[in-house]
């Protein structure tokens, strides 16, 4: 698949500017990149969350594609109904266009409250792409911890206190959970690598059945880093192997990026205020724990992908 930035730049942006996302919002960029990569017309839905809220304040909308928001936990169920209606009306000859269906959800709406609806939709085999913009906490409601929040991170419901130093539990491995549904395509990517992201969206939309892409989407308000650094943080997440880029096509695991030199996790943690407390002497063991977990996960992934260290 040949992808040229020059060509993609000529395409109409399907998410208009002027929406209310924060300056430097990576999730908003993820939405644009995903929509730009789609070749067919798209019908989209989004779970309640930052992206739904900032793009649809009545009487305005940033969506240049048909868009519905229903609730927080039902993005996958809503798209199930849409895709089913499409099949029903196409069968009757009422619809002729080829249309792609994309459901968006943040990590709260996907890892947590929307997991049941996502699992159901995957199991039923609807042909649609689910995109999780993972910013690792409930950002829209004020940075509360979610199942996607990494160990050690301070959030408003897992603050760095004098007794409890941030979130104590590990991040849920959602991409593997979704892959266990034996869907034709699932992947992880991050928007610093636009080519990887665009290719994955195209592959996902071409799949005969449900597909899923988990996209790391840093939030500078929640993660506490300079607003212009979101994309660099994504790069560091890949270079530290905290957020590896990989895909699973029909059961075959493939690694898409292997850093030449695997950076230590400190590189990623130290520029984010949510991990600041980990650098206190008393908490440094948590950084070691994070490194151990990242190493184990990376080893495991390499093995699944048939790669060597």
């Amino acid at each position: 698949m040949k992808l040229l930035l020059k060509e993609m730049a000529k395409k109409e942006d399907l998410l208009s500017g002027g929406h209310r996302a924060c300056t430097g919002c990576v999730p908003a960029d993820v939405l644009r990149q995903v929509l730009l990569a789609a070749d067919n017309p798209v019908v989209a839905t989004c779970a309640t969350g930052c992206m739904e809220v900032v793009t649809t304040i009545f009487p305005y909308t940033a969506w240049k594609v048909p868009f519905i928001h229903s609730a927080f936990e039902n993005s996958a169920a809503t798209i199930s109904g849409i895709e089913t209606a499409y099949r029903a009306l196409k069968k009757k000859g009422k619809i002729k266009d080829e249309i792609d269906f994309i459901a968006f959800g943040g990590d709260g709406g996907t890892y947590d409250i929307g997991l049941q609806a996502l699992s159901g939709a995957m199991e039923r085999g609807h042909k649609f792409l689910y995109v999780c913009y993972d910013n690792e906490a409930y950002m829209n409601t004020g940075i509360q911890r979610s199942g996607a929040t990494p160990m050690g991170a301070a959030t408003s419901t897992s603050p760095a206190g004098s007794v409890i130093p941030g979130k104590r539990e590990s991040k849920k491995d959602l991409t593997t959970i979704v892959t266990a549904h034996k869907i034709p395509y699932s992947a992880q990517t991050a928007p610093y690598n636009w080519k990887d992201l665009a290719r994955k969206v195209k592959t996902a939309l071409a799949a005969e059945g449900p597909s899923f892409i988990n996209i790391l989407s840093p939030c500078y308000r929640g993660w506490r880093f300079p607003m212009e650094e979101g994309i660099e943080i994504c790069r560091l997440a890949a270079d530290t192997c905290i957020w590896p880029l990989f895909e699973i096509e029909n059961g075959n695991w493939k690694l898409n990026y292997k850093p030449k030199v695997k950076k230590p996790v400190e590189e990623y943690l130290k520029i984010q205020g949510r991990f600041r407390h980990l650098f206190k002497e008393a908490n440094k063991h948590i950084i070691e724990e994070i490194q151990t977990e990242v190493d184990e996960n990376w080893e495991n992934l390499l093995q699944k992908c048939g790669e060597t260290q």
């Binding site: 019908v43 048909p66 039902n74 169920a77 809503t78 069968k91």
Partner: protein
């Protein structure tokens, strides 16, 4: 063409759904709705409908899926009961507020805890303010007729609201009765094709639905929604008349039984209306001027019709198959009292909560309500305005 068949309430609604042949049906099993969807699944499996059947993983997703499909202009239906209905609650509001003409059969069942699979109206009464039109059925015939009419009411271009039709769990859903059913083609011709103005699949005319709506617009949108459901009285009556022309069975917002010269009357909805009619017949033989008002449509609430119908009685008793904890009486009682406030010489009104969790209510118990009313009409002072019928205390 019509034929007389013997069907349970669930099968009657399933048959109506087959004849409607919706584009999309979403379903999740819950007793006592299950057999309705078994019936429909047979129709799907045997190619008797064109419907795309989505077997979702919860009622929350059932309602979410029909919200998605209805937004695409697909004629969409589902069915549920009790806790399943409660799980849908959030989406009931979404469906109504987005003006999606979804039709749902609710087989009434008590809510947990304690878990109980039998009939009362706590489920649908709990959803009475969600913006749906609510039509209650007395028997299988009405459940069948209401299902077909619901499609026509919901899809009326000036309404576009979801409609729930209800049937009492087990009492109607699992009881075989004889009923008249139409020919499938007549049903489809009568309801017509559904071709809405807007669809999410119209990619050339994209629009956003379900946006963030804040202090500056939300209130106006709610005001408009109130206006729409208030405008649906006429459509419901008109559809009931048209259906009468088609079948000989005309429907109105309320049904009056032996009310012409009646001095005392029960107001009731659902299957107990049938039992009450029997009781009225017996009381008439005893020389008691008893009547009954059946509330068929609870939302929108037919307050004008009730004001007119109830003003001449001396005493009325409202039967509520639902308990409204902490309230002064059941929901039907409360609304009727409110509707009658301000009329000159209103009847005395008492309330009887009955039949919770499927507790059987028989002719003798209904008769006891009339005897209570009779004594009050003869001058006895009302002892209790809120009463519990058929409970051990």
């Amino acid at each position: 063409m019509s034929s007389i068949v013997a069907l349970t309430g669930n099968d009657a609604v399933g048959t109506a759904m087959k004849q409607i042949n919706p584009d999309v049906v979403a379903a999740f099993p819950i007793t006592p709705q299950t057999e309705l969807m078994h019936k429909f699944a047979d129709f799907v499996a045997n190619g008797e409908v064109d419907t795309e059947f989505v077997l979702v993983e919860s009622e929350h997703s059932a309602m979410s899926a029909v919200i998605g499909s209805s937004a695409c202009g697909a004629r969409s239906m589902t069915a549920t009961s009790s806790c399943g209905f409660a799980l849908m609650w959030e989406l009931l509001y979404v469906a109504a507020s987005c003006r999606f003409p979804i039709v749902m059969a609710v087989v009434n069942r008590a809510l947990s805890a304690n878990i109980n699979i039998h009939c009362d109206h706590s489920d649908t009464m709990g959803g009475r303010d969600a913006g749906w039109i609510q039509i209650y059925s007395e028997n299988s015939q009405e459940a069948y007729d209401n299902t077909i009419q619901a499609v026509k009411i919901a899809e009326n271009p000036s309404i576009l609201l979801p409609v729930m039709i209800t049937l009492d769990g087990f009492i109607i859903s699992h009881t075989t009765e004889t009923l008249n059913i139409l020919d499938g083609k007549d049903v489809r011709d009568w309801i017509g094709e559904y071709n809405p103005k807007r669809s999410l699949l119209d990619i050339k005319n994209p629009f956003t639905i379900g946006p963030l709506d804040l202090q500056d617009y939300y209130f106006e949108h709610k005001r408009q929604q109130a206006e729409v459901i208030n405008n649906s009285y006429d459509v419901i009556v008109e559809v009931g008349k048209e259906y009468g022309k088609l079948t000989g069975r005309e429907y109105d917002l309320i049904e009056k039984y032996m009310t012409e010269d009646a001095e005392i009357a029960v107001i009731v909805l659902g299957s107990t209306a049938g039992t009450t009619k029997e009781a009225v017949d017996i009381l008439r033989e005893e020389g008691i001027k008893a009547g009954m008002i059946k509330l068929r449509v609870f939302r929108p609430f037919p307050y004008k019709e009730l004001r007119e119908a109830l003003s001449n009685f001396k005493v009325i008793s409202v039967l509520d198959r639902c308990i409204s904890f902490g309230a002064y009486g059941g929901p039907v009682f409360n609304e009727i009292k409110a509707a009658l406030y301000g009329i000159s010489s209103p009847p005395e009104i008492t309330n009887y909560i009955y039949g919770l969790g499927g507790r059987d209510v028989g002719i003798e118990e209904i008769k006891s309500v009339y005897y209570d009313m009779k004594r009050i009409s003869e001058g006895e002072k009302v002892k209790d305005y809120i009463n519990y019928l058929g409970v051990r205390e």
